[in-house]
């Protein structure tokens, strides 16, 4: 949850302002859109008389989805090769959070057994627990860690790959014939090698984490079964009578630009984005190494990326930082005025935190410096600049 209660740290001051790396605000990529090459592109102009209707296409299952957005989504997936779009319904949502809830509603409404158990392997995206619990639905029930789940009967497993918070490549773990919702928010080539084209019944994507446009609140689901798609649309219809047309127009323009940019290496967003997150990870690993055995970070295997045509590693949008001693790392970082998401919220241990890797440059640099000072209180060592 985006709760700001914990931001009121009394003794932060001008020299040590609070750095919020709790939420995954992806503003790091703004510099790409402000570059000389891009600044004049992707400008959206909307006259006062446009986009007034609730409807986009009454003949489409997802009647509020603009056809041009659907085409832009399919074109980008084709260019990247990360997901199959053929013979699927596209459902647009106010971010993929709303679509995840729409999928829970759809699958449980269509199930004979209720409440349907919802699970995800630890550590999981903390918001899943909130999404599955907050309205106390009788359709489904949050059951926590998929690895220890042993209730008989139907269930839904949410699989995020690369995983939020720890960046690992994931597959379902229950494997007892239940339904699976795949969250592929981070299955894009700047974050992880595109090893194959994902091809599942329900796949979620979000505009927020591709090129950083979180403010638009656009997500989409690729759904095989028309009955599931219809039920998801029913959820979105009752919940918010569809999705902002302004955001859909803007997402269309930007997704089309991303697709185009793939053709020119020097302009490619994904080349840029990959360099950006890679260098941040190198800086973070340098600092973690420097602190000896104080902190831990996951290691990620190399894999061949079909998109880049070369082998590379995963550079997740979040760092899953741990400490080797049995400490409360979230509190430890809070003493340095750095806000992160404690591991317990992700079903894991308080010795871990989730750290947003996509914040502004200054916040990221300050975070690295404060991390160093946990080990070396009087350290003023210059952190090498890995920025490209």
């Amino acid at each position: 949850m985006f709760g700001f209660e914990n931001m009121k740290i009394s003794s932060s001051d001008a020299a040590n302002p609070v750095i919020n790396l709790d939420q995954g605000d992806p503003t790091a990529f703004q510099e790409y859109w402000m570059s000389m090459t891009m600044k004049e592109r992707c400008v959206v102009v909307i006259p006062g008389w446009d986009l007034m209707s609730y409807f986009s296409d009454k003949t489409n299952v997802c009647w509020f989805l603009r056809q041009d957005l659907a085409e832009a989504i399919k074109a980008l997936h084709r260019a990247i090769g990360n997901a199959a779009t053929e013979e699927r319904y596209i459902v647009v949502g106010n971010g993929s959070s709303q679509l995840c809830q729409a999928a829970l509603f759809a699958l449980s409404s269509l199930s004979e057994d209720k409440p349907l158990s919802i699970v995800a392997a630890v550590p999981y995206y903390s918001t899943y627990e909130e999404e599955a619990s907050y309205v106390q639905s009788q359709l489904y029930k949050w059951e926590g860690d998929a690895r220890t789940f042993n209730k008989p009967g139907p269930y839904i497993e949410i699989v995020t790959s690369p995983n939020n918070p720890d960046g690992t490549i994931r597959e379902p773990v229950v494997n007892r014939g239940g339904k699976v919702i795949y969250d592929f928010a981070y299955y894009w080539p700047h974050y992880t090698p595109i090893t194959h084209r994902q091809d599942h019944d329900i796949m979620l994507f979000t505009f927020s984490k591709i090129a950083g446009h979180a403010g638009s609140r656009i997500g989409w689901a690729l759904v095989k079964d028309i009955e599931v798609a219809k039920k998801m649309v029913q959820y979105l219809t009752i919940n918010s009578i569809g999705v902002s047309k302004e955001s859909q127009i803007r997402a269309t323009v930007i997704l089309n630009e991303l697709t185009k940019s793939c053709r020119i290496k020097s302009e490619s967003f994904f080349e840029y984005g990959n360099e950006k997150v890679k260098t941040r990870w190198e800086s973070l690993r340098w600092v973690v190494d420097k602190t000896g055995d104080t902190f831990t970070l996951p290691d990620y295997p190399q894999a061949f990326c079909n998109f880049f045509g070369k082998s590379s590693s995963t550079y997740p949008a979040f760092a899953w930082l741990g400490c080797n001693e049995d400490k409360d790392l979230e509190s430890l970082l809070k003493e340095k005025y750095v806000l992160t998401r404690g591991g317990e919220r992700c079903g894991s241990d308080k010795k871990y935190v989730r750290v947003n890797m996509l914040g502004p440059n200054k916040d990221f640099e300050d975070f690295l410096n404060r991390l160093l000072t946990i080990k070396y209180p009087n350290c003023f060592e210059e952190i090498p600049c890995f920025e490209p």
Copy 2:
């Protein structure tokens, strides 16, 4: 619900295309925004690098609300005099539907007794029943008609005034100390006399029904109690991580234009809108009179409108059309390829239907003609043009 299954009427043809007056798509007002005076105004230009963050103002209870939208909302309410905005929290939503659900969540979460009963006086907006039922929450339970509600204990009454579907001016009917959510979607001077400034704990408004921008999915709540506002924001945070920034920017520009237009009678949207709905109502009443005692329409009292400075009647955004015989009016109209919302869905009788009064001119004219042919099958009478 926006279900399009019922649109597949097999025998509609080019001469008799289906007219959909079921949903309240408010496209009638588009001509105002396309007029010579307005066409070049209210153009919104958004560069690719803008509006990327989830956040608008981290110090605000509603952290995703843009400050300029909050100011535009307050300025318009001040200009119209329809609602008190002082000492209130503004919560922005993806339409007022999402805000209504946020309010149900907030009030029931804060209540000791659960599930909280939800009621509305018949005939009610059919979507309330869906909103209060679809996820089968254990926090609240739809209990139907407020007039026959006699369960002891706390409850929430939803009061819509002017009412959707029948346009009546409403007050709470249970009056046993429960919570009230006021839906003032239609408390604007083109629809009804502004007799006083509404001043309640929770008041909902929607951008869709003011000047017709339904595609933007913007609504707002004026909320007195900070704890209720916080819980509503919690709902919106988990449900959709806030509200499209593009839509907020556009709503800001258009609401500011509406406020400005109040100062120049010839440009005033509310003068224009009032003429528009008034002439449509005059045409409809002419047709209903012409059909003798076949159909019924509610009568609305005159009242002094503080905004226009004169006495006037209510011209609702929906017509609550009845038939004097005990017929299924929705089916009767469907035979004429006119889709409306049957009275039973509003907790009332099938002899009534809700008819959208804000559709395109052509659809409205065709609807009137087909209504006449129910009484006079071979009638080709010219309906007088009441258009201004």
